[in-house]
Symmetry: C2
């Protein structure tokens, strides 16, 4: 399954309300899709890569911009970038020598909304 | 390290701004603490448990309220609840026969804020 397919699927199955985790129980299908993405960010290297890309000048970064922040080889960085792409959290576009990565803000927004406890009072907490 | 220690530590090290992942690169320490919590929710059973607890009447649930939703044994459910507790996402309080679980809204809020791409324009996306 391509990253476009996975992320499209996630955006389809997740509810659009602002606090899916809090307001109502997630279905097994929703939880399965969502867990794949949280698993992708459940790694400190990938979290740092995501934040480095998002905060880089112009909102995009290539591997050449990222390797200096880690004591890791290029192939290891590339592996983690692939996991983030497959989870639909970033896109990659090849231009000349390098692939340039950007975060997908719609995915971050959806993940953020799913966790936001805005309906806590309704849930009785 | 107890769940109170871990969650207290996470709340200490994470920035309080609304889009830590987007607005500035996470430090290695922040990413390490945060990744532990995302790893805990990077599992479909734990995500469903979290949403079931949060949306249960009164905002709390015991194992007896949760097992019916899964084709899993009680000990397996208890294991997943322990992971959520150790990540600081839920609390558990024993009353008579049962332990009653509640979500920790401050942790969900913090996780949600970290992912929210509210400062995307500042980051140039």
């Amino acid at each position: 399954m391509s990253n476009q397919e996975l992320s499209g699927r996630l955006l389809d199955v997740l509810p659009t309300c602002e606090s899916a985790v809090i307001g109502q129980p997630l279905s097994a299908e929703q939880a399965s899709e969502l867990a794949k993405v949280f698993k992708a960010v459940g790694d400190p290297i990938r979290l740092r890569l995501l934040s480095l890309i998002a905060s880089h000048a112009g909102g995009e970064a290539c591997v050449c911009d990222l390797t200096g922040a880690f004591d890791l080889t290029g192939p290891t960085i590339s592996h983690h970038l692939k996991v983030l792409r497959e989870a639909g959290l970033i896109t990659g576009e090849r231009r000349a020598t390098w692939v340039y990565y950007r975060v997908r803000p719609e995915m971050l927004t959806r993940l953020s909304e799913v966790l936001a406890p805005t309906n806590l009072s309704e849930a009785g907490v």
